[in-house]
Symmetry: C2
Subunit: 249 residues, 2 copies
DNA sequence: CGCAGTTTTGATTTCTGTCAACGTCTGTGG
DNA sequence: CCACAGACGTTGACAGAAATCAAAACTGCG
């Protein structure tokens, strides 16, 4: 049967890359064939690639930076955000393994927003020109990219709806459920439990609230037995009821 | 000197199409050569096209509709919005002459959001397959579309920042200034004056506020002599000061 | 004229932010 | 091993922004 060997060694820290390579667009496109450690024999990357590792809390790039490279996250969590002149920030999306750091880099050098590592982040970058050339040879690829773009835009719109029309409770519950779905689709969630490396100020910046208020809402959720957070891991204890909180309107 | 003849006849209603065809992407792409009335001799549309006129306040399409056509607005204003189950709405963008109604229709049949005419709207639709075929023959077109997409996504992000991190005053002022910029870039604004067919509930739905509060903020703006609204037309009386309101943070 | 959709205004309530104090946790360095 | 600093989380009192409710005036239109 040759079942995959179970990892006995306890893995601490961010989710392993291998499990997400399968759903990473760079892999899917044929641009990347997995992390170097896994590259034995024919599984070599098709495109020149640079790989970097960034410690937690470090800025990966700034709002005004220009880039020739398109980076894909292999491991860890990051956040893309816009900072206003008074220092307040709006997180536009959390970047998980397999995500492109700023899809706008596929077409132009401007990232348009700041990206910050939440956990330690490992990412691989491809030259935009290489990807573009690839894109022109394979018309199928265009559809894949288009679908990715549409997903991203759809999520941006849903964010706007959440921020414009939902209460603090709903926003936070929806953020958690969104993350769970995205992790699950990458095989990075186990049932109702998921990695949750976010600090409350990340949740606040993503939901347009303050960290203090996030603390109060999360406490309320816990008091009602909806969720449990411990050791950078979150479990949804009452999925149906929690879903109701997120979908009140 | 041959100065442009001043329009003596008072134009009532939405802005004329001709002035916006020049900046319409359908025209730019070579898919469309202007409104039928203007089609004399060689200036024929390159692609089969259907043209429709919708009265004000009518829904153009619903959230779940599927379409084979990609519609471009020729005349009038529309709004794309998402409606929640309790009836509250978030307007995602106002669609002006030259805009694509739902860019997601370029790549798939799902519009993802509802579109409603604000004024009477005239629009022309092209078959998605035709546009896609065109796109594959002209690599230059791809860049144009990509740029359009990025603009749209950028605006979606800015909306999220506004909704998440700005006060009512800022949001409303920014909405007005955004509209003015977009109209000006299409030649549809005269100095500090612009068409303003929006009802206060449109402004409310776009800014995540209530119509009552919008009324109070607009009254405040007027009381301070920042703007003037009359007869569906808006003038910014103190541009610098108004800009400051919009950019407080 | 009458009616439905708007806009205005004021009184009141609800939600979320601000401020401040305090407790916990983690890593650092002596 | 302990002391310490800095980031993080919790809690309560209070303030401010915007929502809600309600009533009335206004607008455009058939």
């Amino acid at each position: 049967m040759n079942a995959p060997a179970q990892l006995k060694e306890p893995y601490s820290g961010p989710a392993p890359c291998v499990s997400s390579c399968g759903t990473c667009p760079a892999h899917d496109f044929g641009a990347c064939h997995g992390i170097p450690e896994a590259m034995n024999g024919p599984a070599a990357a098709l495109l020149p690639v640079s790989e970097q590792t960034i410690p937690a809390r470090r800025v990966i790039f700034r709002q005004r930076d220009m880039h020739d490279m398109v980076p894909f996250i292999c491991r860890g969590w990051a956040a893309s955000a816009i900072t206003l002149s008074d220092g307040s920030r709006q997180i536009l999306s959390f970047l998980l393994p397999g995500d492109i750091i700023s899809t706008s880099l596929l077409f132009g050098p401007a990232a348009h927003c700041m990206v910050e590592a939440i956990t330690e982040v490992q990412y691989r970058s491809f030259r935009r020109d290489d990807l573009k050339a690839m894109l022109l040879t394979d018309p199928d690829l265009l559809d894949k990219i288009a679908r990715m773009w549409m997903d991203g835009k759809q999520r941006a719109y849903e964010l706007a709806v959440d921020l414009g029309r939902r209460t603090a409770d709903e926003r936070i519950a929806r953020l958690i459920l969104n993350l769970k779905d995205r992790l699950a689709s990458r095989g990075l969630a186990e049932g109702e439990t998921m990695d949750f490396p976010l600090r409350q100020h990340h949740v606040a910046d993503a939901t347009g609230l303050t960290a203090v208020h996030v603390s109060k809402v999360l406490s309320e959720f816990r008091r009602n037995g909806l969720i449990e957070i411990s050791d950078r891991s979150l479990t949804i204890l009452k999925p149906a009821e929690f879903q109701r909180v997120a979908t009140m309107r």
